[in-house]
C-alpha cells in the first residue's frame, strides 16, 4: 500500500473520480485522497441532465452524487473549481491553474470528455447550446421558457434524449443527423428505423443524411439552421449533440500514450508508473466477451464505475481487472432503451417481441453465443441478457424469438441473500 506521505490525487470529480475515491476507501486504502473537480458544483448525476431535468421531472436538489458529508467522512479532500494544468511524472507532481503544485503517490486521470464543437459559421451565436455539464443543462432549461421551435443537431443518444425532453417541455423539435440513420454507431438498421419511427410518431421531425451549412442569426441570437441542401429551419434554440472528445491533453503533454483516449489495461494502468485512468477519457482493455473489441473507450456510467473499481484495486495491491459486461441505458419519451454487450455487423439478429408494441428485445448472436441485446421497455430481458452474455450462453434462436419461451433456465442462477 502507498505510504501516507504522498496522497492519491484524482483529477476529475465525476463518476469515475468519485467512484475511485469511494472504492479505494472501501478496500481499505488509507493514504490521503485529494479529489480535484474543475466545476464549481459538488459531484452530481449527469444522466438526468438530458432527461428528467430538462423535462421538469427532476430538480437540481436531487442530483447530488453523494451526500454532503460523504467526502469529509471518508477522508476525501474534495477541491472544487480547481484545474490541473500539467503533470511532472518524474517528480510525481501535478501543477494547478493557480500555479501551485501537488505531489502524489498515485495519480488518477479521470478528466472525462468535452462536447465536440460544430465547425460551421454561427456556432457561437446566443441560443446555441451544448449539453454536458450541469451549467449547460441549466442554460438550456432557462432558454426553454422562451423557446417554441428547437433544432437538435446530432441524432445520437444525447441528441435524441434532449429532443424528447424538449418535446415534453412543449417545444416543436427537429433533429438533424448527418448520417443516413439515427444511432448508426450503436444500432443496426432495423433498430435505427424503429427509433426514427418512434420519434416521428411522438411529434419530432427528423432530417436524416443532412449536414449543417451554417447557423443564422440576427443581433447575435440564433434564428435558423441552414441545411446543406439550402433549406432553412427556423428555430430559437439549437442544442448540439454531435459526440465528445476525450480530455487527453494533460496525459499526452506529459508523454503518456494516448490513442482515442488514454490507453490503459484492464486495471486502468497507463504506461506511466503510478498513473491510472478511468471513465470517459480511458481507452480500456476489455474482458473477452463475444464480439467485444480488445479495447475501447466506452462513454457510460457503468464503464466509469467498473473502470474506477478496477483501478482502485491496484491501489491496495489486490488487482481485480475489469470483468463486467458493458451496458448503458437511454430514456426517450416513454421508451426505456437498455443496451447490453456490443453487437458486431455480422452477428445474427433475433427479435423477441413486437417492435410496434414498443416492448421488445433484439438479441445478437455470435458463433451461437449471446453477444449483445438491445431492449425497449423490457428491463427483465435486459438484466437476463447481461447474465447470458457474461456466461456466453448458447440459446436456440427459436427460443429467443418466442416471447412465451422462458429464457431463465439458460442462465446459471445466483442464490438469494
Amino acid at each position: 500500500m502507498a505510504s501516507s506521505s504522498a496522497p492519491l490525487v484524482i483529477v476529475g470529480a465525476s463518476y469515475a473520480g468519485v467512484q475511485l475515491a469511494a472504492a479505494a476507501r472501501e478496500l481499505g486504502f488509507d493514504a490521503s485522497i485529494v479529489l480535484l473537480g474543475d466545476e464549481p458544483h459538488a459531484p452530481y448525476q449527469r444522466p438526468p441532465l438530458s432527461k428528467g431535468l430538462l423535462a421538469g421531472k427532476t430538480g437540481v436538489d436531487q442530483l447530488a452524487l453523494r451526500g454532503p458529508d460523504f467526502y469529509a467522512g471518508q477522508g476525501i479532500d474534495l477541491r472544487l473549481g480547481v484545474r490541473a494544468t500539467a503533470l511532472d511524472l518524474a517528480a510525481q507532481r501535478v501543477r494547478l491553474a493557480d500555479g501551485s503544485q501537488l505531489g502524489y503517490g498515485w495519480l488518477v486521470l479521470a478528466t472525462g470528455a468535452r462536447c465536440r464543437p460544430l465547425p460551421v459559421p454561427g456556432a457561437d451565436l446566443q441560443g446555441v447550446h451544448q449539453l454536458r455539464t450541469l451549467d449547460d443543462a441549466l442554460a438550456v432549461q432557462q432558454a426553454l421558457g422562451r423557446c417554441t421551435r428547437a433544432c437538435v443537431i446530432g441524432g445520437g443518444f444525447i441528441g435524441l434524449e434532449v429532443a424528447a425532453a424538449l418535446t415534453t417541455a412543449g417545444a416543436q423539435v427537429t433533429v438533424v443527423e448527418s448520417q443516413a440513420r439515427l444511432l448508426a454507431r450503436s444500432f443496426p438498421a432495423s433498430m435505427s428505423d424503429y427509433v426514427a419511427a418512434a420519434h416521428r410518431r411522438r411529434g419530432i421531425a427528423l432530417e436524416l443524411g443532412r449536414g449543417v451549412h451554417s447557423l443564422l442569426g440576427s443581433q447575435g441570437r440564433v434564428e435558423a439552421v441552414l441545411l446543406d441542401d439550402g433549406r432553412r429551419l427556423d428555430c430559437d434554440l439549437v442544442v448540439l449533440g454531435i459526440g465528445v472528445l476525450p480530455n487527453v491533453e494533460l496525459a499526452r503533454e506529459a508523454g503518456i500514450e494516448c490513442a482515442g483516449g488514454i490507453l490503459v489495461d484492464a486495471l486502468g494502468r497507463t504506461g506511466a508508473p503510478n498513473v491510472l485512468a478511468a471513465g470517459d477519457v480511458a481507452n480500456m482493455a476489455q474482458p473477452p466477451f463475444p464480439g467485444c473489441p480488445a479495447r475501447m473507450r466506452l462513454e457510460s456510467i457503468q464503464a466509469a464505475n467498473d473502470g474506477a473499481r478496477a483501478a482502485a484495486s491496484v491501489l491496495v495491491g489486490r488487482p481485480q481487472p475489469l470483468g463486467a459486461v458493458p451496458w448503458f441505458w437511454s430514456e426517450q419519451h416513454d421508451l426505456k432503451f437498455q443496451m447490453a454487450g456490443l453487437p458486431a455487423a455480422d452477428d445474427a439478429v433475433v427479435l423477441r417481441g413486437d417492435m410496434d408494441s414498443d416492448r421488445f428485445t433484439l438479441f445478437y448472436l455470435r458463433d451461437g453465443a449471446v453477444a449483445a441485446a438491445h431492449s425497449v421497455n423490457r428491463p427483465a430481458e435486459h438484466m437476463l441478457a447481461r447474465k447470458l452474455i457474461a456466461q456466453r450462453a448458447h440459446i436456440p434462436p427459436e427460443a429467443l424469438a418466442d416471447p412465451a419461451a422462458d429464457l431463465k433456465p439458460y442462465s446459471i442462477p445466483r442464490p438469494a441473500g
Binding site: Q45, P47, A416
Partner: protein, 107 residues
C-alpha cells in the same frame, strides 16, 4: 420526519430521518448508506438499488409497477417476497418505521 432503518451487509442498522417525498434510494445515497449503488440515479433502469423490505411492511407499500416487477426478476442477489427497488419507494408519513435490508451484492 419518517424514520427509515437500513440493515447493512454487516448486520448493523442505520436509522435515518427521511424527507417526505424523497425515495428510499435517495435517502440512502444522501446519507451514505453503503450497499445501495443506484447506478442509474433512480430512473428504474439498473436494479442496483435493490432492498429487502421487512415482512410487516411488504403489504403496506404500493405494489411494484410492471417495469419494477420485471427488473426485480433480474436483481444480482436473488429475489425474495420483500424485494423492491428503493428508487421506486417514496417516503410518506405512513412509512415511518420502515426497515429495509441491503442485499449481499447489487452488481
Amino acid at each position: 420526519m419518517p424514520t427509515i432503518t437500513y440493515i447493512l451487509k454487516d448486520g448493523s442498522a442505520r436509522s435515518i430521518d427521511a424527507r417526505t417525498g424523497a425515495s428510499v434510494m435517495e435517502t440512502a445515497i444522501h446519507h451514505n448508506v453503503r450497499g445501495i449503488d443506484a447506478e442509474c440515479g433512480g430512473s428504474c433502469s439498473c436494479a442496483t438499488c435493490h432492498v429487502y423490505v421487512a415482512d410487516d411492511f411488504i403489504d403496506r407499500l404500493p405494489p411494484p409497477d410492471d417495469m419494477e416487477d420485471e427488473l426485480l426478476d433480474g436483481v444480482a442477489s436473488g429475489r425474495l417476497p420483500g424485494s423492491r427497488l428503493s428508487c421506486q419507494l417514496t417516503v410518506t408519513p405512513e412509512l415511518d418505521g420502515l426497515t429495509v435490508r441491503v442485499p449481499e451484492t447489487q452488481v
